[in-house]
Every structure is written in C-alpha cells, then in structure tokens.
C-alpha cells in the first residue's frame, strides 16, 4: 500500500497545526461557530446528538495492522472502546472531545492516517473496490488512481468551498464493487480497442433526497489526462452548482438540469483549455504510485480446505472469495453479529483483526462499502487459523452477503440529522431472520436501513431498503424494493405507506418467504424480483395490515 514520503508527512503535519490553531481560535472567539463549522467538518469533525463524531479516512478502504492497532488505541483512549465502519470505507468515533481531536490527529499522522476532508463541501474520501488487488475479475487495480485523486483533491485551492460535498469512486474490475453510478463522479477502468487502459467517466450519481444514477459523459479518458479532466468537471460544478438550496446543490442536480450532454460539452470546453497544461500527470509519478500496489506472491498453493467442522465449512462457504492468485483467498470479516449494531467493532476486536492480518493476511485489511472488513490476501492453508482467531474475537459470523448482513446508518441513536432510529430495526430484523433460518435459506439479499432521507445507509440501492420517517413523534418505516449497488445499479421503488417499527421485521420475513416460494432455479432474490415485479412482495409486506 502507499507509503507517505516526507512531503505527504509534511502536508498532514501542516494540516494538524492548522486545525489545532482553528480550535484555539474557536475557543477564544476569534472564529465564530459559523466560521468554524466548515473548517472542522473538513477535518472530519461533526457535532452529533450526544457528542462530537470524528470520521477518520481510510483511503480506498485499505489499511495495515499498525494502522488498525492505532484505531483500536484511539477507541480505548479517547472514546468508549469502539468504532464504526461506514458505507464510504471510513471509520467513525462517536465520543471524542473537540479539545482532544488535534492529539488524536497526531496519533493518526504517526501511522500515515488522517481525517482530512471526510466531511464538508469539498472532495471526500475516494471509494474503491474493497477487493482491489485481489479479485480475479480485475482489469487493473484502481487504487493507485484513487491515491492520485486523493492527493490532487487535498487542500485544493479552487475546490475547497464547493456548493456541496463531492464523492468520487474508482473501480478496476468488470464487476462494479465501488458503486460507480451512485457517486458524483465514477471512474471505471476500461480497455480501448488499441488495448490501452483508461477510464469511463460517469457523472451525477447520488442518493439522498433525490437519488440518481450517474450518466456516462466520457467513454474513454487517457490516464495522463485524469487530473485535467477532473479539474474541468469540478470547475463547471463549482461555477454552476446551485448554492441557493442545500437540497439542490449536488452535481446530480446540475447534470439533470443541463442534461448530461450539455454538461459534458461544458466540461470538454474547459478541458480543451487546460488538458495540455500543468495538470498532465507525469509518467514517473504514475509509476511511482503504482509501485506501492501489487499482488502478494506466494509459493504456497494449497487448495481451499474441505472440513468436517460445520461452522468452519459454513464460514468458508459464505465469507470466502476467490483470489486472482492461486493458493490465496479473500475473506470477509462480518461486522454484523446477529442482533448486533452493523459496522461497530470494539477495540479488542480491532486488535484481533490486526493480529490476524499481520500473521496470516500479508498485513493488509480492507473496509467495505457495506460496513464489513476484508482480509484480501489469506493463504488457503491459513484459513482455519484465521477463522479460529475470528471465532475467539466474536467476528466469525458466517453471513457475508446474506439478509442478516445488514447495512444501517447510525440513525437517531447518534445522528443529528435523523428522524428515526435505524440500528434497533436492524437488530430486530437480524434476530428474526436468523431465528427463522430465513437468512440462510434466502442467500444473497441486501438490506439497507436509513434513519433519514440523507441515505447514508444507502437504502436506495438495496434489494430491500428501509427508510425511517417520523410521523408526529412516532417512527414509521417505508420499504423500497429493487435497488442495487454496483453492477446493474438501480434505485429502489417505494412500495407503499410506512409500517410501524414493530411490524417491519415480520414484513421482511414474509418478503423472503415469498421469494422462496416463487423463485426459479438458481435465482437470487433480486433476479426473482426483477422477473416478477414488486406486486407479490408488496402483498406479502402488507399482509398483516
């Protein structure tokens, strides 16, 4: 993975000094809250219901054991002993004190981590395929490009005060695991007829109040033109994105208002003026960064173990993924224990993952857009050792991709913006689906839950989405069906009026039962839904009413 040089270290150190100064000036009144808020947001510091929340960046979801141990230490020393992995591959702490945050940032900087631009109206953490560098279907590892974009977007003099937040994703495999079409800009690595690799550029995707899928504005962008083209895209947005209405300020609104074609023209026009200028990426820099990313080499080519231990077998069946290198596997570490809080992990568990990664995982860990972790590189003859370690740490739930692998935003239990709670609903759904055995039987299903329309839990792109709303002080939950993240991306449709919280788990159980009744051979839930449409499921959901 990327290693900072002295310049990167200096940048992070300068940033921490800047933030420390900003905190001081806020405390003594030289900065008003109004002025301080965007500055602290750009250092990942939210003010939530009970406390500040610090969102630490995990660039393209990649970290090593040293970094994970530091995250554990921060949870222990500055928080309540746990952290929360998010749908954008970051980690959040829910209880730090503002006055401690500069010190926390120092600790992070010592292991090449930061909280830069994880919030605010600026360019955010770049999402990448969590299996990058390991997946067999990969054309090219997208992470060097994510790193290049990370640097280019950090402290950008022109684009630090955008109309709204800006999220970029890079995907390097034929399957989209980064969510290209639900980001403001999605970069899909492709190969042209001449055999050179470049990017498809998709613009205007996003969720929230007005979910949209991104549109293709450039079928092939040469790699050395990446920064100049992105600059042109951002420049048009910075000028013309709306600033009069918070809910209409994302680029998806601009792209829709202008039309993708017109937006693309404006970008090309700006790009023509700058493409051969100082933003052309030197080949040496591309090569320098690429050199940090590679596949592990191993002489050990043991096959995937066959075992009589049923729990281990089930875990291999559900949580193991094929690897590009013979003899290796990737494994999903589910952070969705039955009845637990999706994405949460204790400091002891973080240490356990660090140990396993270091000993058996080529010292690499990934955070996924569904709030799980991955050990991307594990020798097949180490799978049992890894699994045993996970069992001991309470991290061996064999439900990766199943209905109990629920994604949930923090919701009203933590978040200022929420209208309803999401975690208790997730817990109840998880318990019921596990109890009834439905989760095992139904196979691949995505369930994502949001406590408000901002949709940080990505309910729009779930097979079964759940959106909490507040009705005169009571929590109701709308169900959406048919969303999909990644390949074949789709926005789910609302199927009817909201259900009371206590009715939701049973409604979802009935939905899965319906699927099991009507599915054809080999059909996943989403396949059946696409084939027959939502009506049968809608009936099942409201069967109780």
């Amino acid at each position: 993975m990327y290693k900072y040089d002295s310049y990167d270290h200096a940048m992070v150190a300068d940033r921490i000094a800047e933030f420390r100064d900003q905190v001081t000036r806020r405390l003594d009144g030289r900065l008003t809250e109004d002025q301080f808020k965007p500055l602290r947001l750009m250092n990942g510091v939210y003010l939530q219901l009970h406390a500040y929340m610090l969102r630490v960046a995990i660039p393209y979801g990649t970290l090593n054991s040293t970094q994970m141990r530091t995250l554990a230490g921060i949870a222990r020393d500055y928080d309540r002993g746990y952290g929360h992995f998010t749908t954008r591959q970051n980690i959040q702490y829910n209880w730090p004190a503002l006055v401690d945050i500069p010190d926390i940032l120092d600790r992070l900087a010592a292991v090449e981590m930061h909280a830069i631009q994880t919030s605010g109206n600026c360019i955010r953490n770049v999402t990448a395929d969590p299996f990058a560098g390991a997946a067999a279907d990969e054309l090219e590892d997208g992470r060097p490009w994510a790193e290049i974009v990370r640097q280019w977007s950090s402290f950008h003099p022109e684009f630090t005060f955008l109309p709204r937040k800006f999220k970029i994703a890079v995907n390097g495999a034929s399957a989209d695991r980064a969510g290209i079409r639900v980001h403001d800009i999605g970069l899909q690595i492709v190969q042209n007829d001449a055999g050179t690799t470049g990017f498809e550029v998709w613009v205007g995707g996003g969720q929230g109040r007005t979910p949209r899928l991104g549109q293709l504005i450039k079928p092939f962008l040469a790699p050395e033109d990446l920064l100049s083209y992105l600059t042109a895209c951002l420049r048009v947005y910075n000028q013309h994105g709306r600033r009069d209405n918070l809910y209409k300020a994302r680029i998806k609104i601009l792209v829709e208002a202008l039309g993708a074609e017109e937006y693309g023209h404006q970008v090309e026009d700006e790009w023509a003026a700058i493409r051969d200028g100082e933003l052309k990426l030197p080949a040496e820099e591309i090569a320098r960064i690429r050199a940090f990313f590679g596949k592990p080499k191993t002489a050990a080519t043991a096959p995937v173990p066959v075992t009589e231990n049923r729990a281990f077998a089930r875990w291999i069946d559900r949580n193991r993924r094929d690897h590009a290198v013979n003899g290796l596997s990737s494994v999903v570490i589910s952070l969705k224990p039955i009845g637990g809080t999706p994405g949460d992990i204790t400091d002891a568990q973080m240490d356990a993952v660090a140990d396993l990664a270091e000993r058996h995982g080529f010292d690499e860990i990934r955070a996924t857009p569904d709030q799980n972790l991955i050990l991307p590189h594990v020798r097949n003859d180490k799978l049992e050792a890894v699994w045993s370690g996970l069992v001991e740490a309470g991290l061996a739930t064999a439900n990766a991709g199943l209905a109990t692998d629920i994604v949930a935003c923090p919701g009203l239990d933590y978040c200022n913006l929420a209208n309803a709670r999401s975690i208790p609903i997730a817990q109840a759904i998880s318990s019921l689906l596990d109890e009834t055995g439905l989760s095992e039987k139904a196979g691949d299903v995505t369930i994502k839950i949001d406590g408000c329309i901002n949709a940080c839990g990505h309910h729009h792109v779930a097979h079964i989405g759940v959106l909490g709303v507040d009705k005169r002080g009571e929590e109701f939950y709308q169900i959406t069906l048919g969303g999909a993240f990644g390949t074949d991306a789709a926005i789910g449709s609302i199927i009817g009026k909201g259900l009371a919280g206590e009715d939701v788990p049973a409604a979802i159980a009935r939905t899965l039962e319906t699927y099991l009744d009507i599915r054809a051979d080999g059909e996943r839930f989403i396949d059946t839904l696409r084939r027959v449409g939502p009506d049968a499921f809608k009936e099942a959901i409201y069967a109780d009413a």
Binding site: E18, H156, E158
Partner: protein
C-alpha cells in the same frame, strides 16, 4: 488591506497610478461569468472579486479563469466575507491581496499565508505541484527559476532567493569593488544578516580594504565572512610572492578559488554581482545558473552601467575610491589596471593576458599547482 504574497507587490507602476487617482478598479461579484467579465475588466489596473460568503467558493474559480483564460495580469483583490484560513487558497488561484470584512486578524492571516509549504496542485505564488516536484531534475529547477525571475526586479529576486527559495542557505560573494555597493545595499534592505563572503586575497588595494569596512558599517551588514588563503599553502607555492606573475591562474586558485571551496558547502546558492554588460564570457549570463552543482544567482545580470549609476545616485551610496581614478573593475592590485580606452569594463583585469576570469565563477578545472 493585507498583502497575501510573500513577495512585495511587483507592480509599482500600478500603485503609483492608483495613488495618483488614475487607473480603473472594477469590482466583480464572485458568481460573475468570466467570459462576460473579460470585457468589463479590459484596461482595469485592479479587479476586486467580492465573496458574499466565505463558503461560496465561486470567487476562486473566477480568479483562476481571469488569470488563465483571460490572461489578466493586473492586481487582483479578494473582498468581502473571507476568513484567514483561506489565505493560501487565495494566493494560489491568483489573488494579490485581500480586504476582508472582519478586521483585526492580521496575525491570523499572516500565519495562514505560509501554513503549507507544499501543494499537491499547480497554482500561482511559487508553487510546483508535488506530482511534478518529486520528479524534478536539476535542469528543470534552473529553467523554472529563470522563468520565475525573468520579469522580476533585482530586489525582488533577492528577496525571493534569501527569504524563500534558499532561506538560510544562501550568501552573497562580494569583491567590494566598483559596483558592489548596489547588490549589498539591496541585500541590506532585505536581511542585513545575510552572509557576505569577502575574499581577502592578501593582494587587495588598501582602498578596497578601507572601502569594505566603510560600506559594511554604513549598510549595517552584520555577517561578513572574511576568507583568507591558507597560510601554509601560500608559504609553499608563493613564497616569493611572485606567483601572480608566473602563473596567474594558480595564484587565483590559491587565493580565491580554494578558500571559497572550503566554505562553499555551507550554502546551496551564492549571489554574485556579475552582469552581461561586463562583456566577454558574461554576455549570455542567465540570472540563475549552476556551477559545479551549486546554484549561482546573478540578480543584476541585465543591468547596465546607467542602471548601476542611477542606483548609486538614488541611494547616495559611497563609491570605491579607485573609481575616480579610472578603475571600473577592481580585483587584486597585482592584476588590476584602469579601464582601457577601447576596452570593456573589465579590460583592466589581467591586462595583456588572455585571462578574463579569476575562476570562482567558472566550472572547476584541474586544481592549479
């Protein structure tokens, strides 16, 4: 009103114009369309861009476009609701100064101006993006430096060199000769503690020695490095004190080149007083060059005799006593004669020989014995 740039304003003409009440100032709203603004600002000596709210970042793009697409080269000022933490953003998109609504935060602005030493992106104000800076070769440096200094006045070049580019690692070499006072005076205004290297060859005119003390004192220079040749070496190769006659190159090497070499490692860059109009090998002198791997800055490269004379008069600088006697370039008494009738300014040096340079400014040859 706060100046943003580390360098002083390099457009004195514009300031003078504004001070005299002439020259147009145009104010643009931050969301102005740059294509329309192009016509509005034609002929303006200053353009103000108003930020209605510090979080409205359109003014940054507008500034970028005015500089890059329109080619506006006049003064650009940011006005309105701005916070000190935006200082470097403003500099890097091309603003010269800022007039924020909230006053009294000068110290915060000053600190913010130099917060980040490097940048990941291209920008104005002396910035090479790291994706390029990491891979620079020495040739790129020189080209970039010469480009940067091309349109700058000698005092501004010196200020950038001393306070920014080679801060703490730069010195001036001075002969305390006929023109030396010019460069030394400029440096004294910037930082009188700048090291001044003076080669006391043991063969200097008495008038030079006296002038050196007088000028150092008058200009308030506090860091004179007086270098003398190694006494043992002198005894060994110039025992008869006639080396200058036998082998002038060896004598220069003994008394100038080698003493300089001893301490040159203390510096990444050396300032000289060399000028193109001196003729000979100096006629194509660049402002920035590299000799034996070390940067030499010749800020007065493009100044001629008139410019030198003007400067002497403007600041009423004392002259080297020998200039009245027809000496225009003054080195050691052994090898210096007055300017010859048909010769260039250095024609009195090593008169009758082909030698034109002592060697401290030229790439190393094999050390003379």
């Amino acid at each position: 009103m706060l100046t943003l740039d580390r360098k002083d304003d390099t457009r004195p003409i514009i300031d003078a114009q504004l001070a005299a009440g002439g020259g147009q100032i145009v104010e643009l709203a931050g969301d102005a369309d740059w294509r329309q603004a192009k016509a509005e600002i034609a002929g303006a000596v200053r353009v103000d861009i108003r930020f209605p709210k510090f979080s409205d970042g359109r003014g940054f793009t507008l500034a970028t476009q005015l500089r890059q697409r329109v080619g506006y080269a006049g003064k650009l000022r940011a006005v309105g609701d701005l916070i000190p933490d935006q200082a470097q953003h403003l500099i890097r998109v091309g603003f010269d100064d800022v007039d924020p609504d909230r006053k009294g935060l000068d110290a915060d602005w000053a600190r913010a101006r130099t917060r980040f030493t490097h940048a990941y992106q291209p920008g104005r104000g002396n910035v090479t993006p790291l994706f390029r800076h990491r891979h620079r070769r020495p040739e790129d440096d020189l080209a970039a430096l010469n480009a940067r200094y091309r349109d700058m006045s000698p005092p501004d070049i010196l200020r950038d060199a001393i306070k920014n580019e080679w801060i703490g690692k730069i010195a001036i070499m001075s002969s305390f000769g006929a023109e030396a006072a010019v460069g030394l005076h400029m440096i004294a205004q910037i930082d009188p503690a700048t090291p001044v290297i003076f080669l006391d060859t043991g063969r200097l005119f008495a008038q030079t020695e006296q002038y050196q003390r007088q000028l150092t004192d008058q200009l308030g220079l506090t860091n004179l490095r007086l270098l003398k040749p190694d006494a043992e070496a002198v005894a060994e190769v110039d025992g008869d004190e006639r080396l200058w006659r036998r082998n002038p190159d060896a004598c220069c090497a003994l008394r100038k080149v080698r003493p300089l070499d001893e301490i040159i490692g203390d510096y990444d860059a050396l300032i000289t007083g060399r000028k193109r109009f001196h003729g000979g090998g100096r006629m194509a002198l660049p402002v920035v060059e590299r000799i034996n791997g070390r940067v030499r800055i010749n800020p007065l490269a493009n100044w001629d005799a008139t410019a030198i004379e003007d400067y002497f008069q403007r600041f009423d600088l004392p002259r080297h006593p020998l200039t009245d006697m027809g000496y225009a370039s003054i080195g050691c008494w052994t090898c210096t004669a007055p300017v010859q009738a048909d010769g260039d300014i250095r024609s009195g040096r090593w008169l009758g020989q082909t030698k034109t340079e002592c060697g401290i400014h030229t790439p190393a040859q094999v050390a003379a014995e």
